[in-house]
Amino acid sequence: MKKGTQNYINIHTESSPQKPFEMFKQIVKRTFKGEMFVGLWIVFREMIRFNIHTIQYPKEKLPLSPRYRAVHKLLRLIESGNERCIGCGLCEKICIANCIRMDTKIDENSRKVVTEYTINLGRCIYCGYCAEVCPELAIVHGDRYENVSEQRAHFVLKDDMLTPLDLLKQKEQKEYPGFGAISDEADKFIKKTPLAY
């Protein structure tokens, strides 16, 4: 096709009748076509089938895809229970809504630790860049989309997002399969770095 030309498709339309007798024929045809009864039958059939699609929301919920991007979570290392976040600040840098803020310091063991970590959910557009960029799989998107609270500040502080230690002990922290997570066969693609030679 040449650039700049449009590929129009003519939809076949019934030619409208011109002569009075043709008009009369069309009226008769439409009158006795029984289309109204087709409509009646369709709704009646659906009533008998009783294939109800309603989800009674607070009682029932739709299953979410693992790629669903709701309120963020901060994960812990499963064996030691330490925070995964190393305070690199990549999420803060990449966030296009500028809603992530973090404070870090060097602690007594000369390790960088995160003292404050907040996400302004009023600004967050849930794009998932923070989860994608995180090198440690520390910040991920959870499945908690019902963010209703008495205070706007809830959910967004570090303590609200971090997996509590007791839940970690009960093995409640699941590895994140969604946006930004490593793929299942990631081990196969690992290559030795020059340092190992």
């Binding site: 409509g39 709704v43 009783f50 009674q56």
Partner: protein, 330 residues
């Protein structure tokens, strides 16, 4: 003594009809919501009571306790009286409709009709036609453009379809020779073959179509069509005044269902093994279901199409039907 007994009996009948049919109108809204929901693969009201049965009660409480709002520029007395006309005419029309066959209670013969007047059908249609004043006055008194448009539509629609109703029902009346609904019912005593629908199918269809138009049900629900005129004549109404329009509409629906069943489908005569009282309940229930069914299935027509249908199609057919019936009867 017998006079007193007659008066007491009549008052009891009136109270029974009023209470039962108001309750039925309420439950009709529940069934309407449920059936429409099932036909659209939804569940309908589910939360108030088991399967949402008590939704009617909740709606009633809501309507009764809502603020009775009257617009500043409305003509107040007319605005207030219009819904009363809607409900009152709907119930008054039921006075001449025989609801069930005669039965005996404590050795006393009861005829379940408030007043068997010899022009019963004329009376019923006439009173239902007076109901037209309700949307007209409501629309004109509301000081609202949508109300006015809705009221105008109500008048053209109801006035036009009165003609079709009257002409359609003349043909069966010519065969029967009486306007009393009990006489019409007794004419069809000989079982299913005697039903008038077999010799007057055209009149039956015409009367049913006009019934849809006169009760403002869906193919012809122009006067309160939301996408065009918000809620038509009822736009400015709230609370129980609005509820009375609703009760009137549903009571009219039930009346039309009774009329169609009695005139064309053998009324309350025994049907095979089914006793007459049950037979008419089944027929009326079917027609009410049909009203809801049609609402789920069919889109509504434009006002000009409605007028075209009434004056250019239905009325000539009705007239032809009368002529043909007359020729056959001669």
């Amino acid at each position: 003594m017998s006079d007193l007994a007659y008066i007491i009996e009549t008052i009891l009948k009136i109270v029974a009809v009023l209470t039962i049919f108001s309750a039925l109108a309420g439950f009709a809204t529940y069934f309407e919501r449920k059936i429409l929901a099932f036909m659209q693969r939804r569940l309908g009201p589910m939360h108030v009571g088991p399967y949402g049965v008590l939704q009617v009660l909740a709606d009633g409480i809501k309507l009764f306790t809502k603020e009775d709002f009257i617009p500043q520029l409305a003509v107040k007395p007319i605005f207030k009286i219009a819904p009363v006309i809607a409900a009152a005419t709907a119930f008054t029309a039921l006075a001449a409709v025989p609801l069930f066959p005669e039965f005996e209670i404590f050795g006393h013969k009861v005829t379940p009709i408030i007043s068997d007047i010899n022009v019963g059908l004329l009376y019923v249609l006439g009173v239902m036609a007076i109901g037209m004043y309700a949307p007209l006055l409501a629309g004109m008194a509301s000081a609202n453009k949508w109300s006015l448009l809705g009221g105008a539509r109500a008048v053209i629609q109801l006035l036009s379809f009165e003609v079709v109703t009257g002409l359609a029902v003349i043909a069966p009346l010519m065969m029967i020779g009486s306007l009393s609904l009990i006489e019409i019912n007794n004419y069809q005593q000989g079982g299913i073959i005697d039903w008038i629908v077999w010799c007057q199918p055209v009149a039956f269809v015409l009367f049913l179509i006009a019934g849809f138009a006169e009760t403002n049900r869906t193919p012809f629900d122009l006067l309160e069509h939301e996408a065009e005129v918000i809620s038509g004549f009822a736009t400015e109404y709230s609370g129980m005044r609005w509820g009375m329009f609703f009760i009137g509409e549903y009571a009219n629906m039930i009346t039309i269902s009774f009329l169609v069943s009695i005139i064309f489908l053998g009324g309350f005569n025994d049907l095979w093994f089914i006793p007459g009282g049950l037979a008419i309940i089944i027929k009326v229930a079917f027609f009410i279901f049909f009203f809801l069914w049609a609402r789920a299935a069919w889109p509504h027509v434009r006002p000009d199409q409605l007028m075209w249908l009434c004056w250019k199609v239905l009325m000539p057919i009705a007239l032809l039907n009368i002529v043909v019936t007359g020729i056959v009867l001669m």
